[in-house]
Subunit: 111 residues, 2 copies
């Protein structure tokens, strides 16, 4: 199964979350999995792509129909708890960027 998000034609929105993990492992994996599950249940969710390297640097990009959908997800109570725990324990630093996707191209190998 592809790990690429199968998004519709633009325009739509992307939240680009780039981050460096701390060494704190406890609770992280379960919470990260839960946030993907929970985000995917929100209105306006279009998909998510995520990868983490061995050095603890990671990028997660989630896609949304509208700025309102992003605002609702940002205010979700359980997401808020996870964000607080992330700042307290799991992340050394991060950037969150909200961007409007204006165009997209995809490629799939023909074998």
């Amino acid at each position: 199964m592809t790990k690429l998000a199968q998004t519709p034609e633009p325009p739509y929105y992307a939240v680009i979350f780039t981050n460096q993990r701390t060494d704190v492992v406890e609770g992280y994996g379960d919470t990260a999995d839960r946030m993907v599950e929970l985000a995917s249940q929100q209105p306006g969710f279009l998909g998510v792509e995520s990868v983490r390297g061995e050095d603890g640097f990671g990028i997660t990009v989630s896609y949304w129909e509208s700025e309102e959908a992003i605002a609702n997800w940002r205010r979700h109570a359980e997401h808020g708890e996870a964000q607080r725990a992330g700042r307290a324990q799991w992340y050394a630093e991060f950037f969150t960027r909200v961007a409007k996707v204006e165009r997209a191209r995809s490629f799939t190998r023909k074998d």
Copy 2:
């Protein structure tokens, strides 16, 4: 050194390149390194963040001052050669999304 791009205040542009590698190793690493070096020399380049997981799924986000800067980089001859080789050999599938970053927040742990 942080792997996070230290971008200026929005607005600016992001090129979100998400991709699944093939098993073809030959030439890939050198070309990928060269493209980062070359991109960083282009007018309007603001930074790049990149990570690849053990399963060959990767995300690279590059940041640019303007759509014109992105268009110039897309048309760069050596970049064009690398893109052709990527489609021919190195990528099973990919998405390239161009997005306008409208707002950003960052966090750095205080220790």
